[in-house]
C-alpha cells in the first residue's frame, strides 16, 4: 500500500514528522487517544479545534515536553518510543530538530535580545560567541529587529517578543517548527507582524506545524488542515476543502463558532 502511494506520487519523500498512535492521559482524564499524523517536508500543517481538544498536548508530546503514554514519534529520523526509556542523547537530538514557539514567548527576561538568541546556539550547538552572535544578528535582521539586539525583552512589544522567540528557535537550524497559538496572546494588529514572519518562513520551505485560531492563516498558508476534538483527529485534508465542506458535525459546529465570533 505504502509502495503504491509512493509510485502514485513521485514527490513523496520521507515525512519530516511522523506521529504514530499517540495516547496520553492525566490520571483518569484521557487527553489524547490514538493520534497519528505525518508532516511532509516543506509543508505547513495547521491544527485547529475547540479548547481542550488536545492540540497543545500533541505539540508538546512531539518534543517530549510532555511524556506520552504510548505511541511513537519520529522527527527527522530521530525515533522516540513512548514505551522505552529515552536516552538524554536522543532527547537532545529530537529537540534540536524541532523548534518550538509558545503562546507566551518564554524568552529569558534577564538576558538581552541578542543573548536570548545566541545562548542556545552556544550551549546546544557548541558555537563560539562570535559565530552565534553573527547568526543571531542575521536572524534578527530578517525578523526586522536588528535595532532591538541590545534591549531586554520587556522593552519590546508582544509581537516583537514573539519574533525574537522565532529567531531563537530558528537559530538552532530545526527541521520543523512547532507553533502553539503564536498569536493568541497578542493584539490582532500585532499578531499580523508575527503571521507575516511565519508566512515568509513557510515560503522559504520550512516545515511547520501550527496550532492556531487564525482561520485566514489556516486557509491561505497551510497545505494541510487537521481538526482535533476530544483528544483525537476528526478530520484532515486540504484546508479549503474542509473549511468549505466540513465532513464531520463536530467540525461544522466548531467552524460556525469560530467564524461567527
Amino acid at each position: 500500500m505504502e509502495q503504491l502511494m509512493i509510485e502514485l506520487n513521485p514527490q513523496t519523500t520521507q515525512p519530516v514528522v511522523q506521529v504514530k498512535n499517540l495516547a496520553k492521559a492525566y490520571g483518569s482524564n484521557v487527553v489524547l487517544r490514538d493520534v497519528s499524523l505525518s508532516v511532509a517536508e516543506g509543508s505547513v500543517t495547521a491544527m485547529i479545534g475547540p479548547s481542550g481538544a488536545g492540540k497543545s498536548t500533541v505539540l508538546r508530546c512531539m518534543n517530549l515536553l510532555e511524556q506520552p503514554d504510548s505511541g511513537e514519534i519520529v522527527i527527522d529520523g530521530h525515533c522516540i518510543n513512548a514505551g522505552k526509556k529515552t536516552s538524554p542523547k536522543s532527547l537532545a537530538a529530537l529537540r534540536r530538530s524541532a523548534g518550538m514557539v509558545f503562546q507566551h514567548f518564554n524568552l529569558f527576561p534577564h538576558m538581552t535580545v541578542l543573548r536570548n538568541v545566541s545562548l542556545p546556539q552556544e550551549r546546544v550547538l557548541g558555537c563560539s560567541r562570535e559565530q552565534a552572535n553573527e547568526k543571531s544578528m542575521e536572524l534578527l535582521k530578517r525578523m526586522g529587529l536588528a535595532d532591538k539586539a541590545d534591549q531586554y525583552p520587556s522593552r519590546c512589544s508582544g509581537g516583537q517578543q514573539q519574533r525574537i522567540a522565532i529567531a531563537r528557535a530558528l537559530a538552532l537550524g530545526p527541521r520543523v517548527m512547532l507553533f502553539d497559538e503564536p498569536t493568541s496572546a497578542l493584539d490582532p494588529e500585532v499578531g499580523v507582524e508575527v503571521l507575516e514572519v511565519m508566512k515568509e518562513l513557510a515560503s522559504t520551505g520550512m516545515t511547520m506545524v501550527v496550532v492556531t485560531h487564525e482561520m485566514a492563516f489556516a486557509e491561505n498558508v497551510a497545505d494541510e488542515l487537521v481538526v482535533m476534538a476530544d483528544g483525537g483527529i476528526i478530520e484532515k485534508g486540504h484546508p479549503g476543502q474542509i473549511l468549505k465542506d466540513p465532513q464531520h458535525e463536530r467540525t461544522r459546529r466548531f467552524l460556525r463558532a469560530v467564524l461567527e465570533r
Partner: protein
C-alpha cells in the same frame, strides 16, 4: 552627654576592634553559609534520598533552633564529642549553619518563582537540565532572593552579638567588659548600639536599592 563623648573617645578603638570582629564573623558566616544554602536549596527537593534527608535535617534544625543554642552547642557541647574548637571557630560554625538554613529557604523561594514557561522554553531549545539551572533558574532565582538575603545578612550581623556568650571578642563582649570594669554601662552600650546601627541601617538601604535595581527588567 559629655560622659558619652568621653567614653566614645576613650574606648572607641576597643569598640571598633570589636566591631571588626563582628564584621569578620558576619562575612565568614555568609561566605561559608550561602554556598551551602544554595546546595541545600536543591537538596530539600532532591530525588536522592540521602542528599534530601541531610539537607532537610540541617535546614530544619538550623531554622528551628535559636542561634544562641547552636552557638552554645558548638562551643560547650562539641568538646563532649572530643571536638574542641576555638571560640571564633565555633561561633563561625554555628552562624554558618544558621545562614545555610535560612538562605536555603530564601533561595529556594526565589528559584521557585522563576516562571515554568522559561524552563520549558530552555528544554524545548534542547538545553540540558544543568544549563537550564545555570543560565535560567539560578541567576534569576538568586536575583529574586537577593533583597531578602541582604535583609538576612543584616539580621545575621546583629546576631553576631550572641557570640559574646562564647567569649568571642566582638563588639558586644567588648562593650560588656568595658562596662563591667568602669561601670559606665549606659554610655558604653549606647555607643555600641550606635555602631551596630551605623552598619545595619545603611545596609538595609542598600538592600532596598538592590531590590529596585534588580527588578528593572522584569
Amino acid at each position: 552627654m559629655n560622659n558619652l563623648v568621653d567614653v566614645a573617645i576613650e574606648y572607641g578603638p576597643t569598640l571598633l576592634g570589636g566591631l571588626k570582629v563582628s564584621l569578620t564573623l558576619t562575612i565568614l558566616s555568609l561566605a561559608l553559609g550561602l554556598p551551602i544554602g544554595l546546595l541545600f536549596s536543591f537538596g530539600v527537593t532532591a530525588k536522592n534520598k540521602a542528599f534530601r534527608y541531610i539537607s532537610v535535617f540541617f535546614v530544619e534544625v538550623g531554622r528551628g533552633a535559636p542561634a544562641l543554642v547552636l552557638l552554645q552547642l558548638m562551643y560547650y557541647g562539641l568538646p563532649n564529642a572530643n571536638l574542641t574548637l576555638s571560640s571564633m571557630a565555633s561561633a563561625c560554625l554555628a552562624l554558618t549553619w544558621t545562614t545555610a538554613a535560612y538562605s536555603a529557604e530564601l533561595i529556594r523561594g526565589g528559584m521557585q518563582s522563576v516562571p515554568s514557561g522559561e524552563i520549558e522554553g530552555s528544554h524545548a531549545l534542547g538545553m540540558s537540565y544543568r544549563d537550564c539551572l545555570r543560565f535560567v533558574v539560578i541567576p534569576q532565582g538568586l536575583r529574586i532572593a537577593l533583597p531578602s538575603l541582604m535583609g538576612f545578612a543584616v539580621l545575621l550581623f546583629q546576631a553576631t552579638s550572641l557570640a559574646y556568650s562564647v567569649a568571642v571578642p566582638e563588639l558586644m563582649s567588648q562593650a560588656y567588659s568595658i562596662g563591667s570594669s568602669t561601670f559606665q554601662y549606659l554610655p558604653v552600650f549606647i555607643v555600641a548600639g550606635l555602631l551596630y546601627a551605623a552598619i545595619s541601617i545603611p545596609a538595609t538601604w542598600l538592600s532596598v536599592g538592590a531590590e529596585r535595581l534588580l527588578s528593572r527588567h522584569l
